[in-house]
Symmetry: C2
Subunit: 228 residues, 2 copies
């Protein structure tokens, strides 16, 4: 398996390129519109055919590159079940599996940041946590159908129950981290350590974060795979 | 082995944390002063003792965190042989090896960006290229004892002769890339593909890059392990 973590500095978003080296087939998770040309060039340099673009959720902080990549490559766009999207070729619900050669992608329903969020568990080793769980943090829950209690349950009951050595690759990082593990986050994530569900809800409801710069255009565009 | 790539956004510098999981002993390569507190916290969370800080070269774009980390942890500071540094505990010359439990670090002399630059080859698999080789790029050669012909020889004769599957982890990235391979860089690095030594020298001598913001303070400070 080929695995590449790619960073969009403007929105601090991680996009993941995963490919079967033998079949030369690839998928991208959470591509960013402004990085599509670079993604396409990398696929070309690696001799890979893009088969799928997957979203962990409908993003509010950047416009997705899925629609543009589909136009350029003919790939299929897969989004979480129940996501309010009009443009998808397929949906992934909890425990549903997508196979691409030797790569097995299992969706894990992890609502809370949005109500149709999934994490993707790759070959039972690599967990793409989207905006459910960050390295020493988590996604906000104060807009776009967010719910802190639901996020607490998703993280503590669905992600923290995976093996400790599971690699955590988040949808964003704002502090220069690239990877962690479930064991590490259970032990050291300050949003969860020492907090019960009610304390977590209180914390999340009092973060008073400013809205993302692109929220108005991004959510609307992303419901159409970035094609507005 | 534990391996972590850490990013300093201000200078687009990658720092690497490498540790023997059994011995719980660690080394850091190219730490950045502003990230030292975060590095220290991560070491603490992972239960690791910092034994060494290694430099690939004397940096011109950021101040090193080696001196501060030595004060905080008692680690040894290791710099390339012939580096104009007054504060080091040890030096690594070409083909010299440092062992830390199961981790074997081999220095590969790769001058050209500076005249005392080394790459570090970890367990014959992971190549920390510093500012000799970037993903689809290379370090500049227009100041601080840089020499484009020497850099061309370092990259093409010392790094491109390693196995194609060698993982390339650079000292900087400005385009959201995290990792590449020697095979990929031999095939797709636009600074080297299709250019002979003379053409590379011409290219590098005409980049007309502005000086790094921190060059005056950084080089001076880094000759003293960041303690000015």
């Amino acid at each position: 398996m080929l695995f590449r973590q790619l960073f969009d500095e403007d929105s601090s978003t991680y996009t993941y390129l995963i490919a079967d080296r033998t079949l030369k087939q690839a998928l991208l998770v959470d591509p960013v519109l402004e990085q599509v040309e670079g993604n396409y060039q990398l696929l070309d340099e690696l001799g890979l055919t893009l088969e799928y673009c997957l979203e962990t959720h409908i993003h509010a902080d950047h416009i997705t590159g899925t629609g543009k990549l589909r136009t350029m490559t003919g790939c299929s766009v897969i989004v979480p079940e129940n996501a309010p999207v009009t443009c998808a070729d397929g949906f992934m619900g909890d425990k549903q599996v997508l196979k691409l050669g030797s790569i097995i992608v299992e969706a894990i329903a992890t609502p809370g940041h949005t109500n149709s969020h999934v994490a993707y568990f790759i070959n039972q080793k690599i967990l793409l946590t989207g905006d459910a769980l960050f390295i020493r943090g988590c996604g906000r829950t104060d807009f776009q159908s967010g719910d802190p209690g639901v996020l607490y349950d998703s993280v503590t009951q669905r992600l923290f129950t995976l093996p400790d050595e599971t690699l955590v690759y988040p949808g964003h990082d704002y502090n220069g981290n690239t990877v962690s593990t479930i064991g590490e986050e259970k032990q050291s994530n300050p949003r969860f350590v020492g907090r019960d569900r009610l304390q977590f809800i209180t914390l999340m409801n009092n973060l008073n974060l400013p809205n993302p710069k692109k929220i108005k255009e991004a959510v609307f565009a992303n419901q159409k795979c970035g094609n507005v």
